[in-house]
Assembly symmetry: C2
Homo-oligomer: 204 residues x 2
């Protein structure tokens, strides 16, 4: 993610600017590597507005997850599938979008949920559980969608739609982690294309 110059947008509140800036800095540099002063400077916000809106960096992180990461994640991964007349087609399209939308730069920065979770899951139970809830929802909604495809489990060798959903989600997360680790699109392309083919084949 690129850090946009947010100070120019006067209609955005200081609180919004702090959260949006923190989301980008946490994603690009990590939570522990990002200081509060750095967030405030990049957001064009004062120490006073930080203390007015937040009690700690952790509170900023919880707001980032709730107000930036979760809505974007739901919009991209969950809602297109939950509301789809053909849920399996929708899943394939979401996987395809992950691979084809966004710049290569974006594809090499990792998944925002996994970036935060990898650093903080063992450190902070509250952050861990708010991130875990997003993954739960992803797995549950996709399991529901896959369940609607009655012959899918058997064709793909899974015992249940839930097992298949866990698997697809893990593969997508792993693909993004590998792409970041290796600074290469190749693992992401390989995984997504295979998932698209597998789910298509079962579908036909």
């Amino acid at each position: 993610m690129k850090i946009r110059r947010r100070t120019g947008n006067r209609r955005e509140s200081a609180r919004d600017r702090i959260i949006a800036t923190a989301a980008e800095l946490f994603h690009n540099n990590g939570y522990n590597a990002t200081g509060i002063d750095q967030i405030l400077k990049a957001a064009g916000a004062t120490k006073g507005s930080f203390h007015h809106h937040f009690g700690s960096k952790k509170e900023i992180a919880l707001a980032v997850i709730k107000e930036i990461v979760a809505p974007k994640f739901n919009r991209r991964m969950v809602e297109p599938v939950a509301d789809a007349p053909k849920p399996l087609d929708a899943i394939r399209q979401v996987i395809r979008n992950l691979r084809t939308q966004g710049s290569t730069d974006d594809l090499l920065t990792g998944c925002p949920i996994n970036n935060l979770s990898s650093e903080l899951a063992l450190q902070d139970r509250q952050i861990q559980s708010s991130l875990s809830a997003l993954l739960d929802r992803w797995q549950n909604e996709w399991a529901k969608a896959l369940r609607s495809q009655s012959d899918l489990e058997m064709q793909t060798g899974f015992k249940s739609a839930r097992q298949l959903a866990l698997y697809v989600v893990a593969a997508m997360e792993g693909a993004q982690a590998m792409a970041k680790a290796q600074q290469s699109r190749e693992p992401l392309d390989a995984v997504c294309k295979h998932l698209e083919t597998t789910l298509k084949r079962s579908h036909d």
Copy 2:
């Protein structure tokens, strides 16, 4: 990983104690959350020995990768496959070991390569490339092993053994990341069992 009391082992050099302790602290708490003083205290080492052996925390991290992460990784993931008379059986066994060996606690702390990479891949090119080299080797050795199984690509729907290897590695990394994020073995079990079944079915 649990931090063992290392100060009691007098035969270990201060340098070894620093690296072993740092490996555990980086894995459990993260690189940026771990301070040099904290490493030295837990290792029972002095500031003098740190300055004697290392110039910076980054140099400790590079030593951790080279002397702790890489040998353990090669021993678990690469050597059993590279040296195996039946490489595909060996891959299945490695995947099975990931799922069945080690305590549940260990399974929920994530992959040491991915933990470091997720936090540092975008921050430090040298650390990124030393971690990426491990993943390259994993993918390459497994691709070679899978290539020895001539009908495997077709049966699993992959165009090449390399694509299949990228996929299997990504799924395993994603499974460990999900297990850590959700503090649950379920995704790890689902992914590993499916990979074992897929590779067995193709093999028979």
